[in-house]
Amino acid sequence: MTSAPTHAHHDAPAAPAPAPTPPGRGWPDAVGLVARLLLGGVLLAAGLFKITDLTGSVQSVVAYQLFPYEVARLIGTTLPVVEIAAGVLLLAGLLTRSAAVVGGVLMVAFVAGIVSAWSRGLTIDCGCFGTGGPVDPEDTRYLSEILRDLGLLALAGWLVVRPRSPFSLDGHLPKGR
């Protein structure tokens, strides 16, 4: 807090109504900002890597062996667009809660996909940032991929519960929906 403490005996004329906590104050705001930037940055990066290599993106989805080819192609080509959109919205702090819901749903889906690949004994790279596909059995990194996505899921959860954070466009939107 930077405002000087007011003294009880100080007879200021008609003290102004206490302003709502200004943005940028307190640790919850800091957590919100970090969550937005981290989750948004990772989603944007992942989407950009995929959209510049759509063949690899589609092939990475095929490697999970969960969908028929055309479905895998639909996922591989549209997922990067969704990731980029959610990432940009989070970085800008626009529609933060909705974007965080999308990010969280994606993380749940990614974790489910990786757990499924792991449990079926596939040895693939998650393809989270572009080309995945088979790797040598000793080169799989399922656990760290899952932990990373769970961490991002936690950040998304925070933003869904408390989307307010400093330096966000949401703060400049008219109140009320």
Partner: protein, 242 residues
């Protein structure tokens, strides 16, 4: 006295509402996603023309007595920029060539090109196109061997058109045929079929190279590493899957 009605509270609109922005964002995302999906779609299916040796629908370059013949059927999924494909080809390539020429096996080369995307170049597509040009000149196997034998030390350094020309020349292409080959390398007439081969491989569920399929059975990791180290293991592995 009744109280006068409270003055209407007017919300001062400083900009578009959240709902409007949300609607526009969703619309844009759906539109862009649909465009990306449509742009990568092959509207005619896998109908690109290949060469005299290629199977329809991006099914690869098939050499030997044919896919209907009662011989061991081998499918190799590979990418010219894949180092392990090079190791496999440099190991069992000569023996396979002999078996093809003796009519003992039929080999279908499913040449993929996904490594261009991850390596950030276009050498896989160009090399695959050049290999089809080499098939037009009847030197597919020699050219195929030369590409893998001369893979760059550093993965991703790629190939030059001059290299393709030299390897075709070393395979015995000369004169007018060499000029035709050069134009074919430059004009990339086979890229449609090359893309079909990549799509077809994914449709087959293959996402990694090299993948070797013998009589419909995918050769496992342990056997693959034996083949990469010892060309002599080929007969044994083929017998295991016959």
């Amino acid at each position: 006295m009744p109280r006068p009605p409270a003055p209407q509270v007017r919300t001062v609109s400083k900009g578009p509402s959240t709902a409007l922005i949300g609607g526009v964002v969703v619309l844009v995302v759906v539109l862009v996603a649909a465009l990306v999906w449509a742009a990568t779609r092959d509207p005619g299916g896998l109908d690109s023309q290949g060469t005299g040796s290629t199977l329809p629908e991006g099914g690869g370059v098939s050499l030997g007595p044919g896919t209907d013949a009662d011989v061991t059927q081998i499918r190799i999924y590979e990418d010219f920029q894949c180092p392990w494909c090079g190791v496999l080809e440099n190991s069992i390539g000569p023996a396979l060539t002999e078996k093809i020429e003796a009519g003992e096996v039929n080999v279908t080369f499913q040449i993929m090109s996904f490594l261009d995307g991850s390596l950030g170049n276009d050498s896989s597509v160009r090399a695959a196109n050049a290999a089809l040009c080499a098939d037009d000149a009847d030197v597919f196997l020699d050219f195929h061997a030369a590409v893998f034998a001369n893979q760059p030390q550093q993965e991703g350094a790629g190939f030059t058109d001059e290299q393709f020309l030299r390897w075709a020349e070393e395979a015995g292409v000369e004169g007018e045929a060499l000029e035709t080959f050069g134009r074919c390398v430059e004009d990339l007439p086979h890229t449609g079929y090359v893309e079909d081969m990549q799509t077809r491989a994914n449709q087959d569920g293959v996402t990694g190279t090299p993948t070797l399929v013998v009589n419909g059975e995918t050769v496992g990791n342990e056997e693959m590493s034996r083949l990469m180290q010892d060309p002599g293991a080929l007969d044994e592995v083929l017998a295991d899957h016959s």
